[in-house]
């Protein structure tokens, strides 16, 4: 054996040895870090179980980013006062990839290993995987999709976004402010998010006297070419183009197609996440008057009396500073606003235990929703009063910027038109007792 080859072999051994030692050191470090985190008894852990990657990540990741700002702010002020003791808040994220099985794994990790006291979810397809664990562990969960609510899920709340019911406020505002628009065409992805939203828009259009030019067009979530979808929508020459609750990955190409196919009418949508990018791809003129439901939080209207979200303008500024203004999405503030509600309830309960917080949250049948005091509601639609419903903003793009036009009452609309809503929800099989 030559000297050269011997050296090479020794160096390989050394390399392997060094690698193993480095790996062990890294593992020890990470274990050590975990221990530091666990050792802090004045920290309450909150689970964040949402899609952080994949096509639905736009409704998860920006929310976690918002929560990190919320935690930094709260912790810098000494934390949350619970039972006379201040507690820092730490968020533990788990990417469920919008998959029920991974959500189940994530929920067990957060509850049994991380010791969280509350878990925030996007919900939807992922909730069924978690439902049984929530029941067994008595853990308090929140969802952004109240279609997850059922009477047997007593520890699941929809304390912020009562999707898709708030969409009625946009249609109502549109009908009042642009009464000459009388016909609409609508499309949605054929999934658990699209269908209840279609039912809501159908009810809202009917209540507003707006006629559908065609049946709603459901496209497959795997669709990537939206030209034929838009061509079919525009074929009947509608006054209003309704994009329902499409994911950002669909809203953007749909708008692009509408622009390229020469559409000049009104567009209404539940969301317009990253709308600056849509403007870049179309034009400011094209997007002028676009109605949706999710404000930028630098809007001065959010400083009005009754809005409970703490320092919305500063929150938006900090978010834009950390992640860029174009990263702002519908959910950037929502999970943080749920945390406001949770912190209030934990403080008044004097405990972070899920049952105590739940009881405190629903104590007098009302809650401090981000957009004003609201009622715990939902028996007729969800079979349980676990949705916090009150006012919701109508947002219009003006001069390339989202602007709140008005806060409108969802319960007021419901009182007048609930029969229509129930009819359309039933027709599409979306009532709580028709699901699964």
């Amino acid at each position: 054996m030559s000297r050269k080859s011997l050296d090479r072999k020794i160096s390989r051994r050394k390399f392997l040895g060094t690698s193993a030692a480095s790996g062990a050191a890294l593992a020890a470090m990470s274990t050590g870090l975990s221990r530091v985190s666990f050792a802090d008894s004045h920290t309450i852990k909150i689970g964040f179980l949402a899609p952080l990657t994949g096509p639905v990540a736009a409704w998860g990741k920006p929310g976690l980013d918002g929560c990190l700002i919320w935690a930094d702010w709260v912790n810098s002020k000494g934390g949350v006062d619970i039972g006379g003791q201040s507690y820092n808040i730490e968020f533990i994220g788990y990417d469920n990839e919008y998959d029920a099985a991974k959500a189940r794994t994530g929920a067990t990790k957060l509850i049994k290993e991380d010791g969280v006291k509350f878990v925030m979810m996007l919900g939807g397809d992922t909730w069924p995987g978690v439902q049984e664990i929530a029941a067994r562990e008595g853990m308090l969960f929140s969802t952004l999709l109240p279609s997850d609510l059922t009477p047997d899920s007593t520890t699941l709340l929809a304390p912020c976004e009562v999707h898709p019911i708030y969409n009625v406020t946009g249609v109502e505002w549109l009908a009042e402010n642009k009464p000459d628009l009388k016909t609409a065409a609508m499309c949605a992805q054929d999934d658990a998010l699209g269908k209840p939203s279609v039912a809501t828009y159908l009810a809202a259009f009917e209540a507003a006297g707006i006629e559908m030019v065609d049946a709603p067009l459901f496209f497959d979530p795997a669709t990537t070419d939206f030209a034929p979808v838009m061509t079919r929508l525009l074929a009947a020459n509608p006054d209003i183009l309704c994009l329902d609750t499409c994911y950002a990955d669909y809203v953007h190409p749909l708008c692009e197609q509408a622009f390229q196919q020469g559409y000049q009418g009104q567009i209404i949508s539940c969301t317009a996440d990253f709308y600056q990018n849509i403007i870049e791809k179309t034009s400011e003129e094209f997007m002028e008057g676009f109605i949706f439901q999710f404000p930028d939080f630098d809007d001065p209207a959010l400083n009005s009396e009754g809005v409970n979200f703490v320092n919305p303008n500063e929150f938006y500024a900090e978010y834009a500073k950390r992640y860029g203004a174009s990263a702002w999405s519908a959910v950037s503030w929502e999970y943080a606003s749920i945390m406001d509600l949770w912190a209030d309830a934990a403080s008044s309960a004097g405990s972070a235990e899920p049952a105590a917080v739940l009881e405190a949250m629903k104590a007098d049948g009302t809650g401090k929703h981000a957009f004003g005091t609201a009622d715990w509601w939902g028996t007729e639609l969800f079979g349980i009063d676990n949705a916090l419903v009150g006012n919701w903003p109508v947002v219009v793009i003006e001069g390339g910027k989202a602007t709140i036009k008005e806060f409108r009452s969802i319960p007021a609309w419901w009182d007048q038109h609930k029969d229509l809503m129930i009819k359309h929800m039933t027709d599409l099989g979306q009532m709580w007792n028709q699901r699964g």
Partner: protein, 341 residues
Amino acid sequence: MPGTGTGKLVRRIAWQLRLVFLFAVLAVLPYLLSYSQQEIAVLLVINVLLVSSYRLLTLTGEWSLGHVVIMGVGAYASALLAKRLGVSVPVSLLLGGGIAAATAAVLSFPLFRMKGFYFLIGSFAAGEIIRLIWKRFTEPFGGPKGLKRIDAFPDIDIGFLSIDFFEPVNYYFLALVVVSASLFVLYRIERSRIGLTFHAIHWQDRLAESVGIDTFRYRTLAFVIASFFAGIAGGLYAHYVGAVNPTRFGVDQMVYVLVWAIVGGTATFHGPILGVVVLTVINEIVLRALGLDTARPLIYGAILILSVLYLPNGLESLAPRVRERVRRWRSGPAATGEGAG
């Protein structure tokens, strides 16, 4: 030759010992894992069956893009039989596999009129049709939201013994038994005359036909058997998670199966198993533990590219390569060509 017989016996004993060791490790494994890692282990065991059944289909040379949908057929069928007709879960699991196999048998008529790339696209289209049916018909398939509150595997409670199959460790052992039995059958099929015929069709289908082998029948047989076990995997999944929906069995999931098979390699029985185990551990345990949740798709993609570049024959080729290097190293520089001159 007596030496040959002894050699065979030694190899057989060594093989059996390795198997015993493997089962011992698998039996101890869940007790070394955290609760959430036990959950991952359950899904991993199910995915082992999925990817192994997929390999059986690839033996005939055909790569399908509909295998995950076929798994979904088993999942939906088993869930509906248990939920709507009150069939006991173990029976519905088997029937689910049977329905997946029957679906494959029906699909084989149009699909096996195609070969290669055309079969790939055809299988994708067939899978999409099935998924659209699940979405379109809310009754009985639950539409886009799918089925939930699917009956779980019945608990066992006979006084001294109480087993709750909601607990991942218990379901892990149940899945392990079912999957081990399935893998044994798949292994025996591959090693049988039928398996050799599958190989023959893969490498020389015209030649196989010339000696009287009905390639259509054998391709169908591989497809049906693979689909039966994919259906069983689907049933195991449905009764564990308690929910199925059309998105769960979409092309994204199929890409994962392809990646497992490609990274692991399909030349040997254990190749795809190696692929699914290694990639799942990296993706679900290592990268999450390192706090790289959001970077996982990027890293996963990089691993695929690197493995294709540097391990074109998959992870299964790694051990022989290492063995070869060790052999060369032991036999000295002369064998490696080093030291010359």
